[in-house]
Symmetry: C2
Subunit: 248 residues, 2 copies
DNA sequence: CGATACATTGAACTATTTCAATAGGGGTGG
DNA sequence: CCACCCCTATTGAAATAGTTCAATGTATCG
């Protein structure tokens, strides 16, 4: 069942995500839930925030897959981050007011809107909750840095392995993995746009990872065959995802 | 003269940086200044924060050049961001408690330390100032995203041009440019580690930009010859640096 | 059934890396 | 003060990862 506004389950994934990193009191959870304005569904391939557009609300992703991206003049696109359920996809817009990038739905998505004035009230009245929201944006920055390392230093196979490892961890936090498998609603072209390679090369790289018995991505589903091997060639260290509980 | 603790000028660059984006009251400036614990100088090539080390203070860079970086097993290094005077180099550590990356001085640097408990007090008592600090970390994320686009989609010449454009804007905000020139204490190898290319290729790319009459980098000084041309090949759009004043 | 989107493969091409050699500049010890 | 060393910059030539263009295959859907 898809949760409606006001229902506890609306912020279920967000709470899972937050509670991996710190305690969230029942009252804080209530405040988060009540700050949601509207819940709706957007179809796949919809850009929900366009770069430099003025924002007055932020979007919490409840289900589906979204991405942050920037397009260049020649038509090439770089995806800067994949967003999954429980992610605040444009929380950066709360302080920026105008985002430097666009955000689009890669699959059909369920989203909730949180008006900026309610976020602002949280910053006025709830220091701990404010730090948790701040943390969410800092996690995005940490993910950006790990991608930066991938794009700058790793081979296409290692980059791809890294991405599959990252998503495996992030999706398992919000309980969207089935052991070593998970749905990932990406085309090979989208994948290429994450990794800074061409779609043709993404295809060949996928084949190489499959042939090496590490991972298989077919029909929008990732099946990790050899997790240790995949992490090994990715040089994957989940530290950057900050999976430990600390008082923030 | 190098500013000492408590002196107004200690946070001069930080204030320049903040006031480009929003108003900072005299009282807020005072609070920032008083939250500084210690001011000291660190020699070049000093790693001041090591990845995953527990942090209880954050570092404000007063002068000199620092970088955030990650090293890989094979010895390669990716620099994720260059930090200049006025930057809080490890503010991410305030919410993370343990950074995912290291921070080092590329030149001799003057730094100030701000204990986390004072930052925490700011989040308890000063919502607006908190949002400004939050904004600083969001700016880092925006810079990461622009580098991501560079590494993923741009040629080495465009990447390099982009970096020189970014630094030109950021340094002019804190009044460290001399019109179209600025000091940049990087070796070609450091530069290569920012751009995800080899030092040899950085050398050839520098030569190409020089030969095209766009920019010259020699003796640790950048001289932009043709700013419009440089921005053109970089496809540089300073929007991501958020140079407009908006109430945050 | 035809249209459309996505995936797969081959072959030629290009940007960048790698390895190797050379050169200059600044500092240090003898 | 010279000789030497280390670090940084420069250049050439061969090797390689990834791109580009183009053709083919495959699944889905009205």
């Amino acid at each position: 069942m898809i949760p409606a506004v006001g229902e506890v389950r609306v912020i279920e994934k967000l709470l899972l995500k937050l509670r991996v990193r710190d305690e969230v009191s029942a009252e804080e959870a209530r405040i988060l839930r009540e700050s949601i304005d509207e819940v709706r569904t957007v179809p796949a391939d919809t850009t929900i925030v366009r770069a430099s557009q003025h924002l007055s609300a932020s979007t919490l992703l409840l289900g589906g897959l979204m991405c942050r991206y920037k397009d260049l003049r020649d038509g090439s696109r770089q995806i800067a981050e994949l967003q999954i359920a429980g992610d605040f996809v444009d929380l950066h817009g709360f302080t920026l007011k105008r985002l430097d990038h666009s955000v689009m739905a890669l699959s059909e998505c369920r989203i909730a809107t949180v008006p900026h004035d309610r976020l602002r009230r949280i910053t006025e009245e709830r220091p701990h909750l404010t730090r948790l929201l701040w943390l969410l944006t800092i996690l995005d920055a940490a993910i950006h840095r790990e991608w930066l390392v991938s794009l700058g230093q790793r081979s296409s196979a290692a980059r791809m392995a890294n991405l599959f490892c990252e998503l495996h961890v992030r999706l398992s936090v919000v309980e969207l993995t089935d052991d070593l498998e998970y749905d990932l609603d990406l085309t090979q072209e989208d994948l290429a746009n994450c990794l800074g390679i061409t779609a043709v090369h993404a295809n060949r790289t996928l084949k190489a990872l499959r042939d090496r018995g590490l991972v298989d991505f077919h029909n929008r589903r990732v099946r990790i065959i050899d997790l240790a091997g995949l992490r090994e060639i990715a040089e994957f260290d989940p530290t950057y995802l900050q999976l430990n509980r600390e008082p923030r």
